[in-house]
């Protein structure tokens, strides 16, 4: 059973950028036409004025085929063309070049709750949103009870949604979308909403859909979700298809390449953080050989955090360190050079200073983390405040979690420490 579901050939999408692409006024256009009628005619004869205008290719020469029943993950940085690809595939916007052939009914989910109206009740919105997503009335009638119970909004179904809590609203909206049963489903990062329990529920529903022989294209920043849901993966960068293969392989390649963000360096010290107590010149991640980290780190490998700075005016209250965040922005911990008894603190002297801290092995789980530089005068003044004005680095942890036969993949939870167990009776 290898029915072709999606065939994309040399797809390109060009957007105009710059001031001319902004809203023009009819008045302006008419004035231009009156001033230079010939130019307007010539321009329309040439077909377009694209040539002279600045533009970018949001997608360029992208080709791939997808067989029915496959789930394709699309990964890449912000602005890589992932969303544009979905918009072209779902016919929201037309391509500039190339063709797409889709075999099967297409449903797209670029946003949860598209077309929901605040004045209407939950019941009314189910019908409206269902129709917008392409469901027939008979289909909605049939699934109505399932939608309501999946969304857990039974009691409020005849209440206008403007009185819903944010969570209820999202649950109902996702529930309608989740009951869409097209042969081809295009999904854009909708799982990034709601609390963890809800995300888990959505993910479960998504993998049900993928398991039913439907074809799914799933755009996400969450590598774990892509690896869990998809059996194929493409990586886009600046509109081009960089790699197409198994999620494992493509995700690894992407993470290996995309880590331009492991070093923050201003050797001349001319930054907005400039100060006499500890003027940062470098903040970076290094491997065991103190060379800059340029790919995902294993959980069992040492990762060093290197902080360099210039001191003109020593201050006893100075604390140098870093904060570690999850990719969703949750703070995991702070670590400062003043965490230990005072006699163990590394000396900070006038002139150049290099501090190194090793992240404990077997601490971080598989996933993406963000490190931010922490510089402060204890209880006096922030010099570089995490979450406010601090330089940040990104760290990918991949593999090496444990040699246990049970845990070769990511573990539940944000951390994956090894804590030995012993028998108490021996």
């Amino acid at each position: 059973m290898t029915q072709l579901a999606i065939s994309v050939k040399q797809l390109g999408k060009r957007y105009r950028i710059g001031p001319r692409a902004a809203y023009r006024t009819l008045r302006e256009e008419l004035v231009n036409a009156a001033r230079a009628p010939l130019r307007v005619v010539r321009r329309s004869q040439m077909g377009s004025s694209h040539a002279t205008q600045p533009h970018i290719w949001a997608l360029e020469d992208v080709s791939f085929n997808l067989v029915s029943g496959q789930a394709l993950g699309v990964i890449g940085r912000n602005g890589a063309g992932k969303s544009t690809l979905l918009k072209v595939l779902s016919r929201i916007t037309a391509p500039t070049r190339g063709t797409v052939d889709l075999y099967g009914r297409v449903g797209s989910l670029l946003e949860v709750g598209t077309g929901f109206h605040h004045e209407l009740t939950g019941r009314e919105n189910i019908y409206l949103n269902g129709a917008i997503l392409g469901m027939r009335k008979a289909e909605i009638d049939r699934k109505f009870d399932d939608i309501v119970s999946f969304g857990e909004v039974e009691k409020f179904i005849d209440t206008p949604v403007k009185f819903y809590s944010n969570g209820m609203y999202m649950r109902l909206a996702f529930s309608v979308a989740a009951h869409l049963e097209p042969e081809i489903l295009l999904v854009d990062e909708v799982l990034a909403v709601g609390d963890a329990a809800f995300q888990k529920k959505c993910l479960g529903k998504m993998s049900d859909i993928a398991g039913q022989g439907r074809t799914v294209i799933f755009v996400s920043h969450q590598m774990n979700a892509v690896q869990e849901l998809c059996n194929e993966c493409i990586w886009l960068d600046q509109g081009r298809l960089m790699r197409h293969g198994s999620p494992r392989e493509v995700v690894a390649a992407y993470l290996g390449s995309g880590l331009s963000n492991t070093e923050w360096a201003f050797p001349d010290g001319k930054t907005t953080l400039r100060n006499p107590y500890f003027n940062p010149t470098r903040f970076s991640l290094v491997d065991a050989n103190l060379t800059p980290l340029c790919q995902a780190a294993r959980s069992d490998e040492p990762v060093g955090v290197l902080i360099e700075g210039w001191v003109d005016q020593p201050n006893v209250a100075l604390s140098v360190g870093f904060a570690v965040y999850t990719v969703d922005g949750g703070l995991l911990f702070w670590s400062l050079h003043t965490d230990t008894p005072q006699e163990e603190w590394p000396a900070i002297r006038v002139g150049a200073n290099r501090l190194l801290a090793w992240l404990p092995r077997h601490l971080l789980n598989e996933g993406s983390y963000r490190l931010e530089l922490h510089l402060s005068l204890h209880f006096q003044e922030w010099l570089s405040q995490p979450g406010v004005n601090a330089p940040s680095l990104s760290l990918e942890v991949r593999g090496g979690l444990s040699k246990s036969p049970y845990w070769i993949m990511a573990r539940p939870g944000m951390l994956a420490p090894h804590i030995p167990f012993v028998r108490l009776d021996e």
């Binding site: 029915s68 779902s90 916007t93």
Partner: protein, 288 residues
Amino acid sequence: MAVNSPLPGADEGLTHLVHTHIEPPGRWATPALRDVWQYRELLFYLVWRDIKVRYKQTWLGAAWAVIQPFLTMVVFSVFFGALAGLPSDGLPYPLFTYTALLPWQLFAFALTESSNSLVNNQRLIAKIYFPRLVIPVSAALPGLVDFSIAFVVLLGMMLFYGMPLTLRILILPLLILLTIIAALSLGLWLAALNVKYRDVRYVIPFIVQLGFFLTPIAYSSTLVPERLQPLYALNPMVGVVEGFRWALLGSQAPAGVLLLISAVVALLVLAGGLLYFRHMEDTFADLL
């Protein structure tokens, strides 16, 4: 070119795979009227949404539908009918002007709403595909509810003035359809232009106001010199309004010819609007 192969896992028996082909838009494509038909349920729900939201506070919404034309009628009757003494083809002036106000308000509402419809629904357009034509068409229709309410009042007024209903009333559905077509013919142009040029929004009220004076609402079209009549009827609402008076009040105005010119003009503009809309359709999501 549908590929006929049953899809496993589909829960409604054998489904045949629909083939969708996407390519860069040509310069001028034919209007996707069949697509709109396929999405008729969405059209229905959008109209239903607009009506529902509009009448959420029920009695006030219904009252507005009557208050507006009724007050206008009263003011016109006092100033144009009684004070200025404008001729009303021998009909009671209030009835004469109210009968014209109804189709005009339907037209003005449909035109304004459809012209602003794409901009008002930009989130929808940016996030989901459906034939864009559904939006202006659905925006033009909710005015029919206001019209129906105000029409009941008209029937009451006819009773009051002892105006009998005749079989001529059977032509009304056709006139109402022509009103919607006339509104959409302009509305499609303006809706598409509104996406591209943001000052179109300010032109719309002006067009409506201008149209009001170019339509025989406060006065009779017989005031217009005979040789200018064909030119006058280029405004499709001229034929519609005189048609309403002919059908309901038995006026003697030459509705037939005017109506024909109006209908032809409306259909031509509509055809152009459909083509232009189709031409612009693919860029809406990028421009909004």
